[in-house]
Symmetry: C2
Subunit: 660 residues, 2 copies
C-alpha cells in the first residue's frame, strides 16, 4: 500500500500571530530583507562589497568588469529572493518588495546563457570550465538555491518567469547529468540541487527533475570517488587551497548513501543531502532509502547532536566527528546545519507521522536557529557554542571560529539568509495535513483554513505554550451551507504531545479527556464536529536534563530546559566565571516571568554553589588548598536569547552538586 | 656590586647513575642517536626521507640534486651533533660515534660557503635570497643550532674544527646585522641564535658575538615591525602559505622586549627568546632586562602554564592564548616549549639563586619533557595534552594536532632531538656552583667533583627522592694532603627544598638539624668539613592539587601529585570513560610501589565514584534521569609514563567529590 505523506498548508494560508515568534518573523521584512538588498547592491558602508547584483549585470552584458566574490556568490541573490517569496506569502503581498524582486528576476533572466546555463562565476570567469570541478565549483549548489527561490516565488505570487528561467537551467542539468552514456556521472560537491529538483518536480510535475535528483543520490559514493576522478580532467582547476587533504567523507561521498550508517563530514552538506534522500524515499516509495534516512537520523540525534539541536562538533571543516563527541566550547554547530536538521526532520515526520521527528525540529528551531539571530535582526551567529568565555575566543588560535558576539552580515553569508527564509516560512513547520486530518506539530498562535474529509474549517490556535503551557484551538466549519460531503464521519486533529512532556490535560468542548491515546507522539481527536474547542494544558515547568554519560563533555553536569527551550547562564545575570557554578538539583527551580527582560521571558532561578576565590588571593596558579564554596542563586535565561546584552560568558551545562 | 651567577658543572664531571633517569638517558645513546643518524641519511624504511646529509653533500658540490626538506632542515644535523656532544661528555667518549660526528662536521665545513655563510637551503636553492626573509627563512635559527652544537662538541671533545666553522659563520652574521648604517636592522623570525651567540661568546670570549646577540634582543619589536618592512624588499618571497595573517605577537616582535608583560605567540619562540634575554641580562648586568624576564616568567608560570609544566594552549600556531586559558584536551604544550621553559628557568635560577625557578624546571622536566618520549625511546609526543579520548583525536578536525599515540620520528623533527639533547645534558640541571658553594637543584643520583673555597670535593648523591624521599649526599675532600687553601672557613652546600614540600628532616653527619633556615628555597649548610654526610628525608606523599579558580577548565577538579610528578588516570588501569570519575579527597591516597609496572613506579590508588551507565540502557542522548554513582577505586600513574601501554584515554584533572 502506498504511503501518503503529510502536506504543508500553503504559507499564505497560515497567519502567524504569536508573541514569541512574531518579533523574529517581523525582523525578516523590516530589517533583514532591506539590509540584505543593500548588501547585494554594495551599499552597506563598512561591509565587504558583495558584488552580487553587479556579477549578474556583467554576465548579462550590461556592465563591464570582473566577477567578484565566492564561486557561490549567486546564492545570496537566490536566498534573498526565496526569503522575499516566503515573506510575500506569509506576511501578505507588498508591491514595492515584489517590484524589486521582479526586476531582479528579470536581470537573472538576462544573465542566463542562451543554452539555459546560469551561474555568473562560470559565465564571466571560467566559461570553458563549466562542470569541471563539481567538488568545489558549487554550480549545482547554486542551481539548487536558484530553483528553490523560483519555486517559492511562484508559489507566493503565481508568476512564472523565474520558474521558467530555472526550468531551462534544470533542463541543462538533466541533460548533462545522468546514468546514460555521454552524460556526466558526477554529483554535487555540496548537496542542495537534489532537494531543489524535487521541489521543482512537485510544482511542474516534470518527472525528469525527480529522476535527476534520484540519479545524484544514487550515484553518490558509488565505485571510485568521482571527485578524485574529476581531478584528472584536462580542465580541472583547484579553487580552495584549504581543500588539500580532502576526504570523501567531507561531502558524504565515501560510500553509497544507502550504506552510510553514521552522519559524517560537513554538517550542512549532510543534512541537505539527507533531506533530499527523504524526499526521494517518499516519491519513489523507496523503503531502503527511507531506512538509510532513519539510520542516519538516529545516529545524528542519538549520538551526535547537542541539546540545543546543534550539529557539527568540529570547528575545523564544520563537521561531524565521532559518536558522543560534543565539546561545548569549541564546536561549530552552524546555524545552517540546524536549519538543515529541521528540514530533514520535517520530511521524516511528514513521511512517518512520528512526532519524535517534530520534537527534534522544535529543538533545533527554538534553540540553535533562533540563537543564530540577534533580537534586533542585525547580527548573526554562524557558530553556536554551548559555552563561551570571551577572553579565549581569539583570532589565530584553535578557538578563532567561536565568536562571543554576533557578527554583522558579511559579503558572503549563508546563515543570515537561511535564518531569514526559515523564519519567513515557519508556517510549514506548524502544521501537516492529509485528506482527513490536520496535524499540529508546533504550538504557535495562528489562524489557518484547512479541509478535512471535504469539510473546510477555520482553525484558530491561541498558544501560551512557552509561558503557562495553555493552548486553545478553535476549529469551526466554514461554508456549512454550501458544502456537501459524503463522509458521515468527520475529520481528525492530531496534536503533538512532545516527548519531553510529563503531564498535560486536554479538554474537548469543555470536557476533560481521560487517558487519551497517544500514537507515535500524536493525540488523535476523531470525528470532528462543526465546532471544536480544544484546550491543552501542558505542565510547563523547568526541568533538569542530563546527557548520556558517554558524552564526556557533559558528565557530572546538568542543563535546564523548559518546554522546548534550553536555558543558559549568562555573565549579565551571574557575573563572570560561570565554570565555578554548581546547581543543587534537589531544590526546586523558581520560574519568574520577566516582561522587561529580553523581550519578555520566563527566567529560572536555581539554587546552588560556586567555588570562591577565597584562599587564592596570592595569585598562585596551583596549590593544595581545599575549595571553598559559597551559596549562590543562579539565574538562567533561554539559550536562544543569549548574547543580546553586554558581551560576556555563557554556559548551558553546569556542574551538578552531588549529595552523598 | 656585580652579581655572580651560578655556573654549571661540566657535563663530563657529572656522572649520573639514577634509577629513574638512567633508563631515559641510556636511550639517547642506544636508540635515539643511531635512529636519528639513519633518518638523516634516509635509511629508515617507511619514514619520509630527511635528505639532510644529502643537502650538505649537494651544497659541498659532492653530489648533484635539489635541496629537499624544510628551510630549517639543517638543524636536524645540528641537533644530532649537539646530542652526540652531550652524550660523549656525559656518557664517556666513544670512538665510533665521534668518528661519525667528525666526518659530519668535516662535511659541514665543506658545505660552508667561501665567505663563511652556512645554510644548505639558501646555498642550493635561493643563493640570491640570503637574509631577505628573516620571518620565515629560519637562517638565523639554523645558525643558532649549528653554533650550539659546535660549542657543545668543543666542550665535549676539545676539538676546534666545528667551533671554527660556526665562528666564521657568526662573523658573517655579526657583520650583516647590527645597529650601524649599512647593516641589516632585522632580527630572527624564530629566536635561537641569540642564546647560541652568548654560548659562543662564553667559549671564545669574542665580545662581538655577545653584542650581536644583544642587538637582536634590543632591536626586536622596535619602531615599525621589521617583518612587515622586509616584505616590501625586492627579493622577498613568501615561504609558508599558513603565515598569511601573520601577527607580530607570533614571534614576540609586537613590542620591544623590555615592554612585553605577557607571554605571547609561539611558545617555543617565546622561551628561546626569554632564555637569551636572561643570558644578556646577566652578561650586561642589565637590571631592566632582568625585570622584563621576571615579568614574563611570572606571567607564564602564574597564569599560562599547565600543572605538567606545559605551555602553549592553542593547537593552532602552537601558541599562548590568554591568562588562565588552560584547556586540557586541545592544548599544544609542545615538548620543545617545556624544554625551553626549563632552559629559561635554569638561567633565571642561576642568576637569582631563587629555588622557585628550579621548582618549575623540575616540573617541566619530570612531566611534559619526559612524557614527550616513549619508554623505549622510539616514539615521541610533540603535543602534550592533559586529557585524551582517542576516539575524538581525528584528522581534519579541531583536534587533529592531538595524538593519542606517540609518533615515530619524522623527516623534520624538533621535539625528538630536543628531548635527546636535554636528557644527555641533564647534569646541567642538577647542580649550580660558584667559588664557595655547591647548589643542588635536582635530587638525581650521581657522582661529581667540585671545588668550594679552593677545596676539591668528591660528591656522591644517592637519591631515592621519587620512591621514599630519602637523599644521601656524601661530600669528601680529595687531595687534602697536596691542597693548600687560605680559607679558614669551609665551603657551602645549598640544598633545594622544593616549594611543594611540606615536611622534611635533615641530618648532617648523623645529627638532626632543627629548624634549618631556608632562603629563597635553599637550605644552606656552611663551613663544610673534610667529610660531610648529609641525609635528607623528604615526606614523599601523594597530594591533591587544585588550580586557581580562574582556570575555568579545572574548576571543581583535582590533580594528584607526588613530589614533582603529576599523576594521571589511564584507561589501561581504569577502563574507559575517565570523565565519569570523581575523587573523594577526604580519603587518603594509597601509594604502592609496583616494580613491574612501567619500569617500576609508585602508583596511587584513590577512592571515589563514577557515574554509572545505569538508566541509559535505552541509548537515549538526553534525559531527566538522575545520575547513578558507583563506588570506584581509581588508580593513577605518573603522567610522564602515560601512553606506554595500550592506546586509551588519559586524564590529569579529575572531578572532586564535594561533601556538603
Amino acid at each position: 500500500m502506498e504511503r501518503v505523506k503529510l502536506e504543508s498548508i500553503p504559507l499564505h494560508a497560515v497567519h502567524i500571530q504569536d508573541s514569541f515568534w512574531d518579533k523574529y518573523i517581523r525582523l525578516v521584512k523590516d530589517v533583514i530583507l532591506p539590509y540584505q538588498w543593500d548588501t547585494l547592491n554594495d551599499r552597506v558602508e563598512g561591509a565587504q562589497p558583495s558584488h552580487c547584483i553587479k556579477n549578474f549585470k556583467i554576465a548579462a552584458g550590461e556592465e563591464n568588469g570582473e566577477f567578484q566574490g565566492a564561486v557561490f556568490q549567486d546564492t545570496d541573490v537566490a536566498k534573498w529572493l526565496e526569503a522575499v517569496a516566503f515573506t510575500l506569502a506569509s506576511s501578505g503581498r507588498d508591491e514595492k518588495l515584489e517590484k524589486l524582486a521582479d526586476e531582479t528576476i528579470a536581470l537573472i533572466g538576462r544573465a542566463q546563457c542562451e543554452d539555459g546555463y546560469l551561474n555568473t562565476y562560470y559565465t564571466i570567469q571560467e566559461p570553458d570550465r563549466r562542470w569541471t570541478n563539481l567538488k568545489e565549483g558549487h554550480e549545482l549548489y547554486t542551481a539548487g538555491h536558484m530553483i528553490e527561490a523560483a519555486v517559492a516565488y511562484y508559489q507566493a505570487t503565481g508568476k512564472k518567469e523565474f520558474l521558467e528561467i530555472v526550468s531551462r537551467f534544470a533542463d541543462v542539468i538533466c541533460e548533462k547529468f545522468g546514468p546514460k552514456e555521454g552524460q556526466c556521472h558526477g554529483y554535487p560537491g555540496h548537496p542542495e540541487v537534489e532537494l531543489a529538483l524535487v521541489k521543482l518536480y512537485r510544482v511542474t510535475k516534470e518527472k525528469k527533475y525527480l529522476d535527476t535528483a534520484k540519479f545524484f543520490i544514487d550515484a553518490r559514493g558509488q565505485g571510485g570517488n568521482y571527485f578524485e576522478e574529476e581531478e584528472r580532467g584536462e580542465k580541472y582547476k583547484q579553487i580552495f587551497p584549504e581543500f588539500a587533504g580532502y576526504q570523501p567523507e567531507y561531502s558524504q561521498s565515501h560510500l553509497p548513501v544507502r550504506e552510510q550508517k553514521t552522519a559524517e563530514g560537513h554538517a550542512v552538506r549532510a543534512v541537505y543531502l539527507y533531506s533530499a534522500m527523504a524526499d526521494l524515499a517518499y516519491e519513489y516509495q523507496d523503503k531502503e532509502l527511507e531506512k538509510a534516512c532513519e539510520t542516519l537520523w538516529n545516529n545524528m540525534v542519538q549520538k551526535r547532536m547537542y541539546i540545543t539541536g546543534g550539529i557539527g562538533s568540529s570547528g575545523l571543516l564544520e563537521r561531524f566527528t565521532t559518536d558522543y563527541d560534543l565539546p561545548n566550547d569549541r564546536n561549530y554547530s552552524e546555524s545552517c546545519a540546524s536549519i538543515g536538521l529541521a528540514m530533514f526532520g520535517k520530511r521524516m515526520g511528514d513521511m512517518t507521522r512520528d512526532a519524535s521527528y517534530a520534537d527534534i525540529v522544535e529543538q533545533a528551531l527554538y534553540n540553535t536557529v533562533l540563537a543564530g539571530i540577534a533580537m534586533d535582526g542585525k547580527s548573526f551567529f554562524y557558530v553556536n557554542p554551548l559555552e563561551v568565555w570571551p577572553d579565549n575566543c581569539l583570532e589565530r588560535t584553535s578557538l578563532e571560529h567561536v565568536k562571543p558576539v554576533r557578527q554583522k552580515w558579511f559579503g558572503v553569508a549563508c546563515c543570515p539568509p537561511n535564518i531569514a527564509r526559515t523564519l519567513a516560512s515557519l508556517g510549514q513547520y506548524v502544521y501537516g495535513k492529509d485528506e482527513e486530518a490536520l496535524y499540529i506539530h508546533l504550538y504557535v498562535s495562528n489562524e489557518t483554513e484547512v479541509k478535512m474529509k471535504g469539510r473546510l474549517y477555520k482553525v484558530k490556535m491561541d498558544s501560551h505554550y512557552l509561558t503557562d503551557g495553555t493552548v486553545k484551538i478553535l476549529a469551526e466549519r466554514m461554508n456549512t451551507a454550501e458544502e456537501k460531503t459524503e463522509n458521515r464521519i468527520g475529520g481528525k486533529i492530531a496534536l503533538r504531545i512532545p516527548g519531553y512532556m510529563k503531564k498535560f490535560r486536554i479538554y474537548r468542548n469543555g470536557e476533560k479527556l481521560e487517558n487519551p491515546v497517544i500514537q507515535k507522539g500524536y493525540l488523535l481527536l476523531e470525528n470532528l464536529g462543526n465546532r471544536e474547542e480544544i484546550t491543552l494544558k501542558f505542565e510547563m515547568k523547568a526541568r533538569f536534563v542530563r546527557a548520556n554519560p558517554k558524552v564526556r563533555a557533559d558528565e557530572g553536569r546538568v542543563a535546564v530546559m523548559r518546554g522546548p527551550l534550553v536555558y543558559c547562564l549568562e555573565e549579565a545575570d551571574n557575573g563572570s566565571n560561570l565554570s565555578s557554578g554548581y546547581i543543587d538539583t534537589q531544590t526546586e527551580p523558581e520560574e519568574v516571568y520577566e516582561p522587561n527582560l529580553l523581550g519578555g521571558i520566563v527566567s529560572v532561578k536555581l539554587k546552588g554553589k560556586c567555588i570562591s576565590m577565597k584562599g587564592w588571593e596570592d595569585g598562585s596558579l596551583y596549590g593544595e588548598r581545599k575549595p571553598v564554596f559559597e551559596d549562590t542563586v543562579w539565574k538562567a535565561v533561554p539559550y536562544c536569547n543569549w548574547g543580546n546584552r553586554k558581551t560576556g560568558e555563557m554556559a548551558v551545562w553546569i556542574k551538578e552538586l552531588i549529595k552523598n
